[in-house]
Symmetry: C2
Subunit: 336 residues, 2 copies
DNA sequence: GTGAAAGCGCTAACAA
DNA sequence: TTGTTAGCGCTTTCAC
């Protein structure tokens, strides 16, 4: 099987290589007659344009990279939706890479994409990675940090205001009458968790009379919620919180399940708010109120910021986009 | 900022381009002294090897593509885990692309990856896509079809025996004493759904006395389960099934929730089995029995098959790998 | 509208 | 061990 390149197509169509290339890149500058001959040759020969040659000549590619710690996390997956849609509109393709939370793999993907000459990168990482991105940017590949606010003004980022999210959640609990509120989730060493707690504390302080108990349990999965709820059920009524802010929905779902089946009514005795608004929150046993970060919009914003940096669109008015999450009220906090 | 290539490194290190290239590709063939000088130059200049040039020269890349309809689907995400791990061992990188179930996007990614000259592709698609893959294969890019058994012997595939899975589920229901079994889920035009129903029917036939009712509801999400369960609750006891095989876990979870809270005891009055064994099945209100397809193993198997086709390892003993799913028994079918 | 030719950055074969 | 060099496939001036 002889490789078929632009040269073979040209020969088969009886034109020069240059004309075939023109046909591929500026179809309008080729006569209808030769265009037809070329197209036939392409179809017959099964010609596929070689990207390496093209990119080498052009000096740049037409793809962007999206590096995530965990593809299966609905949060990143939904962002990917928006990213792909918007990138396609801009004529860019998206390659997703999954670091699996492993710094070494993340690093090698960063290298790989830089070697591949991607136009830009969207990087979601739990790690401190700005220095690395700065170096890459210095060599010509721009990036947008996704999910954490960059500290450098030069590093574009798209993030969520978790302090505000935590505040909103607890403020809501206070508003519906909760006085003894528990914060469930950890570890506090994770920025997002710490920020949400910060917002929660602020709301408590503003409320004046309410108290906050911190139950730093991990991992942040349903089973942990079950465990914490079991402990709570064992307490005497007076020592039990009347409102819970779960640092994510999985914890919240677990809490509600065990609480409700264990004889503690939700939301009457204990109201529960989660965070992330994953699909299961809405459909859980007792539908869970939740703080909802923007999803698709977030991906779109990230791409738009990257395009702006690339100079494809207007320059960015602001390098750091911070989204404020909403609250979705459902049965788990619907009192009265 | 002047581009820095192998030429600039060579100049800075006072050696020739060829030596730098050797250093990059066969470090052992370069004297320690020059190696040091080259490494210093690379670090100082921030040299990043240009993949386009490399690949053009080499004639092949060192990446493989994994195309999925939906990255956020835990099924594909878990496979990705296995795929990446195994690929890394083989010195290959994985680019994931998300078709979003859109045939047009799937098609353009297929083109894109072929143009990029990936070593091979792993393709999960709900569509009939074998002809397309055959054409691509004919031009030199092999692939493994993931999730559906290929009909052509020439097209490697890794799939799950859904007929067997459906059989296992219903056989289990029969074994615990169910006589009137409902199959919930659709559309039947989807191969996986049809296969599971086929297996279910087979099990019913073997049982002799039991009956099967088909409730072809979609989409296959929790909310649909709620709806179907509400309808079931409204029936008189005699006309209500005593066992349900939900075609996926989301449906199963929805069914169990509404059934149990609606006063129909699970598993005593109605036993329920789901399919896929997603994380939430185990942690749902009433833990859900489920048919569990292999996950990580599946990804590993897919890559191994691809490597075999690429000739990196032993030739494949068999082009079509079919996995038989297990049953995980939990409370939703734990009678007695 | 079309063709000829230069060269993108790199690797490997060959020469020294 | 090191240097020199041809050329991978493509796009794009530039001439015609």
């Amino acid at each position: 099987m002889p490789r078929v390149g632009i040269r073979e197509v040209a020969a088969a169509a009886g034109v020069s290589m240059g004309t075939v290339s023109h046909f591929l890149n500026h179809p309008d500058r080729v006569s209808a007659e030769k265009a037809k001959r070329i197209q036939e040759a392409i179809d017959r020969l099964g010609f596929v344009r070689n990207n390496a040659g093209r990119q080498l000549r052009l000096g740049h590619s037409t793809t962007i990279a999206y590096i995530v710690p965990d593809v299966s996390n609905p949060f990143f997956a939904t962002i990917a939706e928006g990213v792909e849609r918007r990138a396609a509109q801009a004529g860019l393709s998206v390659f997703v890479a999954n670091s699996g939370g492993d710094p070494a793999r993340e690093d090698s993907y960063l290298d790989l994409f830089e070697e591949h000459g991607v136009r830009g990168m969207l990087v979601a990482s739990p790690r401190a990675i700005e220095d690395r991105l700065a170096a890459i940017r210095g060599r010509g590949t721009p990036s947008v940090l996704v999910g954490q606010r960059a500290s450098s003004p030069a590093q574009p980022s798209v993030s969520i205001d978790d302090v505000s999210g935590g505040h909103t959640a607890v403020r809501h609990l206070v508003d519906i009458g909760c006085q003894h509120i528990a914060f469930v989730g950890g570890p506090l060493s994770i920025r997002q968790v710490a920020d949400r707690l910060q917002g929660a504390s602020d709301a408590i302080r503003e409320a004046g009379s309410a108290t906050l108990e911190i139950i730093a349990s991990e991992p942040r999965v349903i089973a942990t919620g079950h465990k914490v709820a079991a402990e709570l059920i064992g307490r005497t009524q007076g020592r039990r919180p009347d409102g819970i802010f779960a640092v994510n929905d999985l914890l919240g779902i677990g809490l509600v399940q065990t609480l409700a089946t264990g004889g503690v009514s939700v939301p009457e005795e204990v109201a529960v708010v989660g965070y992330d608004d994953i699909e299961y929150a809405e459909n859980s046993f007792v539908p869970l109120s939740s703080v909802r970060p923007p999803h698709e919009d977030f991906g779109v914003a990230a791409i738009d910021l990257l395009l702006a940096v690339l100079g494809e669109t207007q320059p960015p008015p602001e390098n750091h986009l911070v989204f404020t999450p909403d609250l979705v009220v459902r049965r788990s906090t619907a009192r009265g």
